[in-house]
Amino acid sequence: MAAKTLTIDGKQITAEEGETILQAATEAGIKIPTLCHLEGVYDIGACRLCLVEVTGTPKLLPACTLKVAEGMEVSTDTERLRKYRRMTLELLFAERNHVCAVCVANGHCELQTLAYSQGMEHVRYEYTFPKWNVDNTHRLFGMDHNRCILCTRCVRVCWHIEGAGTKNVSGRGGKSKIITDLNQEWGDSESCTECGKCVMSCPTGALFQKGSTVGESERDRNKLEFIVNAREKKQWNA
């Protein structure tokens, strides 16, 4: 593997060929906000929070799928990017019913954390207050669609890590919904292995373990990475 030299936020960095900007930045201690990205599963560039500016390219590009290149100049934290990130978060908060005060993930929610770390002090867009249901039919887990941000992490872990393909997205646009099998109740699913990886992967309180209190709902994401390393690289470093 050839090494590539590039600058991120003015910092000279050497990265392996094939690495993404997000990986290279993380290794260099530069934090780029992400939401749909999850270590261990493939990236889809959907949440647009990790967009960065690349000198010479008019378009903003997602750091999670953009590969490093020799001589690249990347900016991750410009005024413009910060503004767009705040707006993206505002749009998410206005899209469904995210009521932090009464959420199982309060205090352990990536959306909540991103909101304050990006300085989103209020939402300027009108809340849409859609009516979504809560699927409480599974004996171990529940899904509250009101809190879903459609990052599809659960869909990807279910496909890519567990291999069951229980979860997918139905519909499109704002009507998109995470489904179980043929859009049936989770409790009736034949394909679900009850492995709980989807719950571990969820950035918000949309997927939750039943019976756990707010304090317990911290997710063990390292476990997902551990499993991927074990399966793909045959490395078991817990």
Binding site: C47, R48, Y84, T88, L150, G173, G174
Partner: protein
């Protein structure tokens, strides 16, 4: 099949040509006005008059002046009957022996026809799209033969580059450059895809090309496949175009049986198979990465580029993707030479462009004009202006991704750059004329609603941003919005355009932005006074 066989087919077809040909439009528009019945009755009338040996009633593709359909043309008398009904048939046939048919005619030499320059539509309304022999008689598949026998793939790409053809799907990417990139991409398996998912509401050029001259698209695809080293092609067609699909199936079958598609084309080592994939009603599938997902049988959600399809496309292989009109240009370019093509149009936009002229205009239908033709020539001279003495207010190009060009800019030449400067795009060729009765905020909301419904939902700015923008536009129309809402709308336009994952989201704000640019007063007239009562000293510290 070798060249001599091809020539034999052509000569046989020409030799069997009858003295008089009645061309009867059998494209979807005229069929909906019963042109099938017209054709049947014409055939019966010919038989009854005992003229079978001198008269051919030929079902042809689109004859362009759709608003006057069903159309029947008489060769060589150069007569064009309009709004023909089945009952008119005997009268038309009787007139062949002299006299005048009691059927409305239009002047085939009127500006609508005379100002056209047909390359893509050269066979449209002339050949029978259901017979490959008819296409071969018009020199069809000659270009493919020449390319396979006399040019290396590299030379084919070079000629395409020289022609200056740019993608007709909307963005105008140089076709030669695209072909070259795919050709150079390493990979044993490559694909060619024809994007026939004409999704712009108000555009029907590709439908007409597929219905009227399907073989030109197949030939174009085969030449492209040879140039880039592909052996498999897919035609992705909208399910809303059943007639086009049926004719394509037939065309593929006929081409295969003559050895013009399949294995060892023209006895060369070149193999090329084409499969049809039918869309299922998703505008976003016009975006290339989404289209490929759909061809793979998945949800048509786009993915970030790079990697570009030219490097990693369908099933992860290098893939060439062009639209219908682009491919339909290809045979003519190799038949007549790249220089010939480069001699048409403007400096940066070569060749012709097909437009679907519709909306509040007298002559609706298909037109093909050289690049650089002023909009005014198209809408006023050819289109005949607004009907009933109305006044043209704006011309919308590029559909939900384009903009509204106000009447004061009608002298703009139609080319990629000029339209871009006005905040619109060439688009795939939909051209909707709007008159004084059209409210521009309503138009903006119409397109925003379209984008909102068609957003795939993958990325947040497009999924949630279009909803918010639509809500604001709705609020403005209901006279409930204030200047603050308008400011929010403009901010969202900028954000969604710059942060969305694919072209759908990136261009969704265009109709709103262009109407704001040229018709801002229409927005402002609807705004309400702000009752928010801002704090008088709000940025001041409050200490006394």
């Amino acid at each position: 099949m070798i060249l001599n066989d091809l020539i034999a087919v052509k000569e046989k077809e020409l030799a069997s040509q009858k003295k008089i040909v009645l061309r009867c439009c059998m494209a979807a528009g005229c069929i909906s006005s019963d042109s099938k019945g017209v054709k049947e009755q014409l055939e019966i009338a010919v038989t009854e008059a005992g003229m079978q040996d001198e008269v051919e009633v030929r079902g042809v593709g689109c004859m362009k002046l759709c608003c006057e359909g069903p159309l029947v043309a008489v060769d060589p008398k150069n007569e064009l009957y309009v709004k023909v009904t089945a009952e008119n048939a005997p009268s038309i046939i009787a007139s062949l022996k002299g006299g005048k048919a009691n059927v409305e005619q239009t002047d085939p030499d009127a500006a609508f026809f005379k100002k056209q320059l047909s390359i893509v539509l050269a066979n449209s309304g002339i050949v029978n799209p259901e017979r490959i022999e008819s296409y071969i008689a018009a020199d069809g598949y000659l270009a493919l033969h020449e390319v396979l026998n006399e040019m290396s793939p590299k030379e084919v790409v070079e000629a395409m580059t020289k022609s200056g053809l740019r993608g007709r799907g909307g963005a105008g990417f140089p076709t030669g450059l695209k072909w070259g990139t795919v050709a150079k991409s390493p990979g044993a398996k490559k694909y060619v895809i024809c994007n026939a998912d004409e999704g712009d509401p108000g555009a029907f050029m590709d439908r007409s090309v597929l219905e009227s001259d399907p073989h030109s698209v197949l030939e174009g695809m085969a030449i492209a496949a040879y140039a880039v080293g592909a052996d498999q092609g897919y035609l992705y067609v909208r399910a809303e175009y059943p007639l086009a699909i049926a004719r394509l199936h037939l065309a593929i079958k006929q081409a295969k049986s003559l050895g013009l598609l399949g294995a060892g084309i023209f006895d060369s080592p070149f193999n090329f198979n084409v499969e049809i994939r039918i869309g299922a009603g998703a505008f976003v599938c016009g975006e290339e990465t989404a289209l490929m997902m759909s061809v793979e049988g998945k949800r048509g959600t786009p993915r970030p580029r790079p990697p570009f399809p030219a490097e990693s496309g369908l099933f992860g292989c290098p893939t060439l993707l062009n639209n219908v009109e682009t491919f339909a240009n290809v045979p003519a370019i190799y038949r007549n030479g790249a220089e010939w093509f480069a001699g048409i149009g403007t400096e940066k936009s070569k060749g012709t462009k097909v437009f679907a002229l519709a909306g509040k205009i007298k002559n609706t239908g298909l037109i093909e004009v050289p690049m650089g033709t002023p909009l005014r020539t198209i809408v006023e001279e050819m289109g005949g202006g607004a009907p009933d003495g109305g006044k043209i207010k704006a011309v919308q190009t590029g559909g939900p991704s384009g903009g509204c060009i106000p009447s004061q800019h009608l002298d703009t030449p139609v080319d990629y750059e000029s339209l871009g400067k006005l905040g619109s795009i060439m688009g795939s060729g939909g051209m909707i004329v709007m008159d004084e009765g059209t409210r521009m905020v309503d138009v903006a909301r119409f397109f925003m609603e379209f984008c909102m419904d068609e957003s795939c939902g993958k990325c947040i700015p497009c999924r949630a941003g279009t909803v918010q923008m639509h809500n604001i536009l709705d609020k403005i129309l209901k006279r409930k919005a204030t200047g603050r809402d308008l400011a929010k709308l403009e901010e969202l336009c900028d954000m969604v355009r710059n942060t969305s994952l694919c072209g759908l989201g990136q261009t969704a704000p265009n109709p709103t932005m262009s109407t704001l640019r040229f018709f801002r007063n229409e927005y402002e007239e609807l705004l309400q006074p702000d009752t928010f009562g801002a704090g008088a000293t709000h940025s001041q510290p409050v200490t006394k």
